[in-house]
């Protein structure tokens, strides 16, 4: 009786790997059947959103991990408007620039879903805003007129530069299963507080001394959001 039970147990033990191997192989076969094109691991993509528009290259490391490198850029120059500040009409000319280089790793927890978690590093190359503020009107002083050029202007630049860690999440594989894939992603860079540069001229020249104060006030603006849509093409 005991010989029979032992034989059955030993048999089950030696048969288990065979059974497991058979299960893994079956799964692989099923997956291969579902995703025959994953054997091509390279893809390029165009993307757009915040903080710009650009190109990406992605490489599929395995079924769960994709590595991608990208470049995003955005420029908006000569936004011009008049504003009222403390009762004075001023002209504001703004320029927005953004240049970002990314190196990211995507993790997809499930092969059956395109949900992904993303982490990586971005290099921010002078991402920021430049504004030039100038009085619109001359100022009268007694019988004299002080023209606005003599009063001067304030050239204010707020920018982030340097390496910034990133994390985010989204949907859409960097290397799509099929020939073309679409994705969206939401995340944030930790860029640290921005650099502030104040270049003032004329009678306003000493306003440059407020650089440190403004930098201190903006120190909490360390997180830079990212909201992207991308269209990937498998190579």
């Amino acid at each position: 009786m005991s010989k029979s039970i032992l034989s059955i147990v030993l048999g089950l033990v030696f048969m288990a790997p065979t059974v497991a191997q058979d299960s893994t192989a079956a799964k692989k076969a099923a997956t291969d059947e579902l995703y025959p094109l994953w054997q091509n691991r390279h893809a390029i993509a165009i993307s757009g959103g915040l903080p710009g528009f650009g190109l990406e290259y992605a490489y599929n490391l395995n079924r769960s991990l994709n590595l991608r490198a990208g470049f995003l850029a955005f420029t908006f120059n000569d936004f011009n408007t008049d504003m009222d500040i403390s009762g004075q009409s001023v002209n504001v000319n703004a320029n927005l620039t953004s240049t970002v280089f990314d190196l990211m790793l995507e993790y997809q927890p499930s092969t059956q879903s395109s949900f992904k978690l993303v982490a990586g590093l971005g290099y921010l190359n002078n991402v920021g805003l430049n504004t030039l503020i100038l009085l619109n009107d001359d100022i009268g002083y007694g019988d004299l007129v002080i023209d606005n050029e003599e009063i001067g202007d304030i050239d204010l630049t707020v920018s982030w530069t340097g390496i910034a860690p990133y994390m985010g999440f989204g949907f859409g594989r960097a290397v799509p299963k099929k020939r073309v894939g679409f994705g969206i992603e939401v995340g944030t860079y930790y860029a640290g507080g921005p650099n502030v540069d104040i270049d003032a001229s004329g009678m306003l020249e000493n306003t440059s001394e407020e650089e440190a104060e403004l930098e201190n006030n903006l120190a909490s603006y360390a997180w830079m959001p990212r909201l992207m849509a991308r269209l990937a093409i498998k190579l």
Binding site: L117, I139, M203, E210, E213
Partner: protein
């Protein structure tokens, strides 16, 4: 579980990407340095005999001269006003002086009961701050060294000449400047254009006024034309011009008007169109040609300064010194052909040696940083004993900001026929209790300067000032012309002048103030044009910058 974790992570990411907005401009202030003007002229207007006494009534001010258009009141208007005893002027930026083109103008001060005072200014490039005093002579309160004599003569309407000779005896109360004027009946009176003045029916006739200056006192010297004391511009025989520190002699300002029309010259008369004068010579005066007292038979001459002229002119003639047989008084009798200031000088052909002198001052705190400058007034006297033992003094005044280089500080230079050693008397904020004084000699060109060196006794405290306009949250660097006054808190003392901000120190954050003691409490007063702001009970801490809250009116004037 996995799905729950991922959802939570997503929520965290969204949260940290949207940082709460701070008040970005919290404590951010705009700084303004009013540089739309650089050049400031500051003139303290005071009673000549009693500087601490304010001028009675309104002082009317007019600016004339080739560059008058470039000159404004410190508030940018053409309404020239004395505020807190000071007239502050500024130069519009589009008319600033250039290296070859200084700005020349005259400032005239007139007030009822006071002799008209005029000051000439020449602002060269980088003369950012010029300070001076306009000392107005109260004709109802003359010091003993100044006399004012008036007389009147009736005019024959048929001839426009005096009905009778008019004799005017004038002189200072100390009798050191005396003159006797005799206007004959055969003299016609001419106006500034050389035209004969026609008398009016029922008019006042010929009015004569003679101001006699014995110039032995500082007050009499201050009454000299152009407000420059004994430093006067003199035209030499060859036409060249010298700035001369005059020697002592009686000086007379002779004015006449016929029925209100100013008389400038004469025509006709026995002595070729002139008015006879008899001018005694002070017995203590020295004939520099022979280095002795004057004697009968010596020769003297006359020099005059007419209204509108820049320089004193030497008379063409010399006059013989005579002796009164009764009084033994020495005198000479010139003929006056026109009206102006007159004074005796050496005989025409005697050319004494001129010594080219100058005075200046500088401040050196002995520490390298933030040396800045100090504001104040320095009197300089040239003293000489007469043969009788009296001390005669010639007074020169320096006023302004004194930094470490005397060459760019306020200084004066002139020729002088004598080479007395100057004595310095600092006043107005530069006292011997706070400073050590010494003198040095420096030569610049042909001028030998005696320079006062001022070193604080203790290491001076350095503090800075800014003006704050609350309505616009703006800090304003004190514009050129802002004056700071101080006194010790609870002292009951009057405010004393501490400092004047000029274009040269606008960018200086700190300045040193030897008059202030560290950690002591003071009351400060800022003045600019007609605005005055007191800040009381302030502890002076070395290295601190003080924000003075300005009245809205002052801020509004700057568009803030």
């Amino acid at each position: 579980m996995k799905k729950s974790f991922l959802s939570l992570l997503a929520l965290v990411l969204i949260t940290v990407a949207c940082t709460p907005t701070d008040d970005i401009l919290d404590d951010f202030q705009v700084h303004i340095s009013p540089t739309f003007y650089k050049y400031v002229v500051e003139i303290d207007v005071e009673d000549l005999a009693n500087p601490e006494t304010p001028i009675n009534g309104t002082v009317n001010i007019s600016i004339t001269g080739p560059d008058a258009d470039a000159i404004y009141n410190i508030d940018g208007t053409k309404n020239f006003k004395v505020n807190f005893g000071t007239l502050q002027l500024m130069v519009s930026k589009d008319a600033e002086p250039t290296p070859s083109n200084p700005l020349d103008f005259k400032v005239r001060f007139e007030a009822n009961g006071y002799k008209r005072t005029e000051l000439n200014f020449s602002i060269a490039e980088e003369d950012y701050y010029i300070a001076d005093n306009a000392q107005m002579l109260n004709l109802a309160n003359l010091p003993s060294s100044i006399g004012s004599t008036s007389a009147n003569g009736g005019i024959d309407p048929n001839t426009n000449q005096l009905a009778q000779p008019l004799v005017v005896n004038a002189g200072s109360a100390d009798s050191l400047a005396k003159i006797k004027l005799t206007v004959p009946t055969d003299v016609k009176f001419l106006d500034a254009d050389g035209n004969e003045i026609v008398g009016k029916k029922g008019g006042t006739g010929l009015n004569v006024n003679i101001l006699s200056l014995s110039d032995t006192s500082e007050a009499a010297q201050a009454a000299f034309p152009n407000g420059t004391g004994l430093i006067q511009i003199v035209q030499n025989e060859d036409g060249t011009i010298d700035t001369l520190l005059l020697d002592h002699a009686g000086t007379f300002d002779i004015n006449m008007d016929l029925d209100g029309t100013p008389v400038r010259a004469f025509s006709g008369g026995k002595t070729t169109g002139g008015v006879a004068a008899r001018i005694p010579i002070d017995p203590d005066a020295t004939n520099e040609e022979f280095n002795r007292a004057y004697q009968e038979g010596d020769s003297v001459s006359l020099m005059s300064l007419s209204e509108g002229d820049i320089a004193w002119v030497e008379d063409d003639r010399s006059y013989v010194v005579k002796k009164d047989p009764i009084t033994s008084e020495l005198y000479f009798e010139p003929t006056l052909e026109h009206l102006s200031y007159y004074r005796r000088k050496n005989r025409k052909k005697f050319k004494p040696v001129k010594h080219y002198l100058g005075v200046g001052a500088y401040y050196t705190p002995g520490v390298s940083a933030n040396s800045g400058s100090i504001s104040g007034s320095i009197r300089v006297t040239y003293e000489r004993a007469t043969r009788s033992g009296r001390v005669r003094r010639r007074h020169v005044r320096l006023r302004g900001n004194f930094g470490p280089d005397f060459r760019i500080n306020r200084r004066k230079r002139y020729a002088s026929y004598t080479q007395d050693v100057p004595v310095f008397h600092p006043t107005s904020g530069i006292s011997s209790s706070a400073f050590n004084f010494s003198t040095e000699t420096h030569t610049i060109g042909k001028f030998e300067y005696t320079v006062l060196k001022m070193v604080p006794k203790n290491q001076p405290v350095s503090i800075g000032y800014r003006l704050y306009c609350g309505s616009s949250n703006t800090l304003v660097s004190p514009p050129a012309g802002v004056k700071m006054y101080y006194r010790k808190h609870n002292s009951g003392a009057p405010f004393a002048h501490l400092y004047t901000f000029t274009n040269e120190n606008l960018s200086t954050t700190y300045a040193t103030f030897p008059a202030l003691e560290k950690n002591e409490f003071y009351d400060f007063q800022a003045r600019f044009n007609d605005v005055q702001k007191d800040t009381l009970n302030v502890q002076v801490v070395d290295g601190r910058v003080y924000d003075v809250i300005m009245p809205n009116r002052a801020c509004n004037s700057l568009g803030l």
